[in-house]
Amino acid sequence: MSGQRLQAEAEPELAPAPLSVRGGGHDRAGRVFRWLATGSGVLILAVLAAVAGFLLLEAWPALSASREDLAAISWIPDDGSLLGYVGPLVFGTVLAAILALLLAVPVAIGIALFISHYAPRRLADVLGYLVDLLAAIPSVVYGLWGGLWLAPKLQGVWGWLSDNLGFIPLFEGPAATPPRVMMTVGVVLAVMILPIVTAVSREVFLQTPRLHEEAALALGATRWEMVRMAVLPFGRSGVISASMLGLGRALGETMAVLMILSPGLTYSWALLMAGRHQTIAANIALQFPEANPLGVSALIATGLALFVITLLVNMAARWVVSRRAAFSGAN
């Protein structure tokens, strides 16, 4: 906190020097350069506004279409209500993302702690780099791996779950074969967001003030107690924002879902049964190539819903991070 404030206070003092230089000459190149820079910044704002604007514009025909027209599209339910179509999609999207988050975050915290506080220093650097590399693997490759390699391996596990824990609505059987189900999607999405959640958490854990850690150890804390009392409280908001970033990714992930899930439009909690769920992103990619103009418009309307959801999640994440900057208690 003090570092930022120092910088903020230092800047106004630095400002006059360049100002006088700029004001001194009739420097056309300087002005053009400045306009270019400012223009680029404004352009970014314009692009974001355009994203929202164009989506709305293209979605409007579907938003204002009559129920009969909409019902004529083969994949929209017979009552022709757009809301009735988007509802299950939003449900499926959120369900997949939350499932992935529940699976990924505990493991990610474990990995981050292992790299930051348990592994030997030299090993930790290599592992950290490895995790960064894994974040770069394209999602379509994860989808391929999930669909062709992982799904058959999970078959037995899901069967066992539905046989023995079938009384819980989430694991209601019979488990589908092949397991192109929500649970498999959740696992693959969890693997996909693991690197990003790990990377951010690790960074935060590494920033724990050395003095806090040493104070805990000096008071006789074991390593785990030191982690629990010094590292985790310090890193909590960082982990929260890392999870939100992961959530944002999982919400917008298309390919892995598209390649694994057998789609269906219901509000179902049965994670092991096929043909129950679908996410917004995967649905767009699935229907878009074959859709007629009104269908495209309806799909863009669902995309708008996804845009708004991810926007809210990301803004919440930024808000948590900015709060952290003010109240971290680091110094």
């Binding site: 490759v141 767009i284 878009f288």
Partner: protein, 320 residues
């Protein structure tokens, strides 16, 4: 607590201070050990899928990969034919990603220059905030945006390379801005002041001193950004469509790219072969998908490694 209670109850001799300080507290140490195992296990469990992914892509993709596979397109290839390759997809990926880089690098760099060197007040804060927001745009929404943009001007059903490049730019610009901004902030203020004190105009100071000092970092950032978007599938599926033949023209018609090729082959699934058909390979589509995935992963990892090397080799000397 529990251990001291038992000690007093059994009438054992009172422990000395030295004993109290050195005697291990069994419960706490058990918890410590258990947590160490749990943390290590979490790490190992997570490594299983990640290592297996790399291994499977390598072992499955290796069979099909050959100079022939890299040099031909899918034109005229059907059924279980033992033929076809990814040349058209590689061409498409290079063109579209290159065009995306050409669009986003100048915009991203100038925005970072604005934020670091010029930006003050509400506009700078808004740009910073919305660049953050932009990082979180789902890739498919970026694809829809590019499609909507081109559909408004060129009519519905438009498919062309530039639309894909625009979609990728929406994803790439915030990454370039973030990394460039970070690098510009690392340039010591003394360098700027020295240049300004010599009477060099501010814009020349930025071009000749600030940007040149941070060139290595900026190049690294751009390469990482390219590595990130080169694997994007969903926006390209929407804006470029799929095609089997080679297309060099960004402004005309459908184009294939590597990620879309992988998806396309995967979604075509197993080929039904008659038992007496010798030239028919049932798993040909999956084989091609794995081989293309291997090529894509190698490209992405090479870009990452290269970025590392650039960052290390050309980094400005630190300290004095």
């Amino acid at each position: 607590m529990a251990s001291t209670d038992t000690v007093t109850r059994t009438d054992a001799p009172q422990p000395t201070t030295h004993e109290l300080l050195t005697r291990p507290d069994r419960r706490r140490h058990t918890v410590d050990r258990v947590m160490r195992v749990v943390v290590t296990l979490a790490f190992l469990v997570a490594m299983i899928p990640l290592v297996s992914l790399v291994w499977i892509v390598l072992s499955e993709g290796y069979h099909r990969l050959s100079p022939y596979f890299l040099a031909v397109s899918m034109r005229g290839v059907f059924g279980g034919m033992d033929a076809g390759g990814i040349y058209h997809a590689i061409v498409g990926t290079l063109l579209v990603t290159g065009a995306a880089a050409v669009i986003s690098v100048p915009i991203g760099m100038m925005t970072a220059v604005y934020l670091v060197e010029y930006g003050r007040g509400a506009l700078a804060r808004a740009v910073t905030f919305f660049v953050d927001v932009m990082t979180g745009i789902p890739s498919i929404v970026a694809g829809l945006f590019a499609y909507a943009l081109f559909a408004i001007f060129l009519g519905p059903g438009v498919r062309m390379g530039v639309a894909g490049a625009v979609a990728l730019s929406v994803l790439m610009i915030p990454v370039v801005v973030r990394s460039t901004e970070e690098m510009l902030r690392l340039v010591p203020n003394e360098l700027r002041e020295a240049s300004l004190a010599l009477g060099v105009p501010k814009w020349r100071t930025i071009v000749k001193v600030v940007l040149r000092t941070s060139a290595a970092g900026i190049v690294t950032g751009v390469m990482l950004a390219v590595a990130r978007v080169i694997g994007e599938t969903a926006p390209l599926l929407i804006t470029l469509g799929v095609v089997d033949s080679i297309n060099y023209d960004l402004f005309d018609g459908r184009m294939m790219t590597l990620p879309v090729f992988i998806y396309r082959q995967y979604s075509q699934g197993l080929v039904p072969c008659r038992p007496d058909q010798l030239d028919c390979i049932a798993t040909i589509n999956f084989d091609r998908a794995w081989a293309a995935a291997l090529v894509l992963v190698v490209i992405v990892l090479l870009l990452n490694l290269l970025a590392r090397v650039v960052a290390r080799r050309f980094a400005p000397a630190k300290g004095h």
